[in-house]
Amino acid sequence: MLYRPETADATDAGFTEALALCEREPELKAWFAAHCALYAAIRAKFKQVAVPEGFKEQIIAERQAHTTPLWQRAVLAVGAVAAAVLVVFTIQQHLPYHEPQNFAVYRSYMGGIAQRAYGMDTNTSNLDYIRTSLSQSHAIADYVLPKNLQKNAKATGCVATTWRGREVSMICFQSGRPLPNPSSSDLWLFISDSTIAKDAPRKSTPAFETSNGLTSASWTIGNRTYILATTSGDEKFLEKFLPEKAVL
C-alpha cells in the first residue's frame, strides 16, 4: 500500500520481495496494478496545484534586493547617524490621519497622482534602467512585472513616491491607444509592500475596481501588492496587461 510507482521505491530493498510476489500471483498482480493506477491518479491531482505567475522571479528578486555588498555597509553605517536626525520628522509623518488607512483610500490616492501632473524621476522605456533607478532611490525594486504588461505596453518612466510614509514605486506605461500628449502615459503600475493596508488583496488573481474615471486591477504576489490602473479602457482592456490566471 505504501509503494509508489515510478519513484525510488522501485529500487528500495524493502519492496523487492513484495514486488516479486506481485509478479507471481495473478490476484495480487491485479490488485497491485489497481493500486499503482490509483496512486498515479491522486498524485496527478496533487501535482496540478499551480504556482502563481512570477513567484519564482519574486523569490530571486527579493534575495537580490536584500544582498548588501561589504562596501555599502560602511556607507550605511554613516547614513545611520543621519537617519537618527530624521527620526523626529518620520514620526510626524506617521501621526494618525483623519482618513482611514484602508486599501480603497490608498488606491484612490495613487489614482489621483496618476491623473494629475507629476514629475518623473526617470524618463525611459528601458525597464532595467527603471529598476536600477528605483533601487538607487531606495524605493521598491524587487517587483515582478507581468509578462503581458512587458509585451503589450511601452514603459515611459518611473516615480518613487510614498503613501502615509510607506514606499510606493510607480512605473508609467503607454498602452498603445492614442493619447492627447505623445509623451504622456495612460497605464500605471503601483507597487507597495503587501502590508500597505490591512485589507490589501491577498490573492494573485487580480481584482477589478472602477472609480473616478480610472479602472484598476489589484493583486498580491509574495510580499508585494500591485495596482495596475488605466484611464484608457475598462476591465476587458486592462486584462491584456495582467498576469496570466493561475489554473487549479
Partner: protein
C-alpha cells in the same frame, strides 16, 4: 556554497514542489507563498552551512515543514472533528472516480484527514522522497512515518469514496 547550490539554481529546482507542499498543508495561496519565501530566505542566510549538496531537498522541505508547524502553533485552534475509525481494508476507490475530480476537491478532502496525517500524505503523493528523507523532514521515526501515511491514505481514500457516493445519490435524486 558549492557549485550547483547557487541560490537561483536551488530556487529553480525546488520552488514549485515546495509551493505545492506548502499549499497542500495550508490550502491558501498567500500562506503557501509566505512559507515558501520564508524557506528560501532561511536558505539564503543559512544554506551555506549545508555540506552535503545531496541533502538540499530534505533541508528545504524540513525547513518549510518546521515553519508551517510554527505558524500553526501561533494560530487559534479550530475544533477538530474526529473522523470515524476507518477499516483497515481500503475502500474501492477507482482511478476513474479520482480523474473526475479537480485538484481543489482532492485537497479539500485532505483537510478532512486527521491533521497529523496530512503532511505525510502530501509528501507521499507529491514528492519522490525516500521514506528515510520523509522521516527527517517530519522529524519522526521512519516507522511512525509509515504508519501515519498508511492511516492517512486510508482516510483520504475513504473521504473521496464517500464524496463520490454522495454525488451519485444527488445525481439520482435530481
Amino acid at each position: 556554497m558549492g557549485p550547483g547550490l547557487n541560490f537561483e539554481s536551488v530556487v529553480e529546482r525546488f520552488y514549485e514542489p515546495l509551493y505545492q507542499f506548502a499549499f497542500s498543508l495550508t490550502r491558501s495561496e498567500a500562506d503557501a507563498c509566505d512559507l515558501t519565501q520564508q524557506t528560501f530566505y532561511v536558505w539564503a542566510t543559512k544554506g551555506h552551512q549545508l555540506r552535503d549538496p545531496t541533502k538540499v531537498k530534505t533541508w528545504l522541505f524540513t525547513t518549510l515543514h518546521r515553519a508551517f508547524l510554527e505558524s500553526r502553533r501561533r494560530q487559534v485552534r479550530f475544533p477538530h472533528y474526529e473522523l470515524e475509525e476507518v477499516p483497515l481494508d481500503l475502500p474501492t476507490l477507482s482511478p476513474a472516480t479520482v480523474n473526475q475530480l479537480d485538484s481543489a476537491q482532492v485537497l479539500q478532502a485532505l483537510t478532512q484527514v486527521d491533521e497529523i496525517y496530512q503532511a505525510p500524505v502530501a509528501l507521499f503523493y507529491l514528492e519522490d522522497c525516500a521514506y528515510k528523507e520523509i522521516a527527517e523532514i517530519l522529524a519522526v521515526p521512519i516507522g511512525t512515518v509509515k504508519s501515519r501515511m498508511a492511516r492517512g491514505i486510508a482516510q483520504l481514500q475513504s473521504i473521496l469514496t464517500q464524496g463520490e457516493r454522495e454525488s451519485r445519490r444527488e445525481r439520482q435524486n435530481d
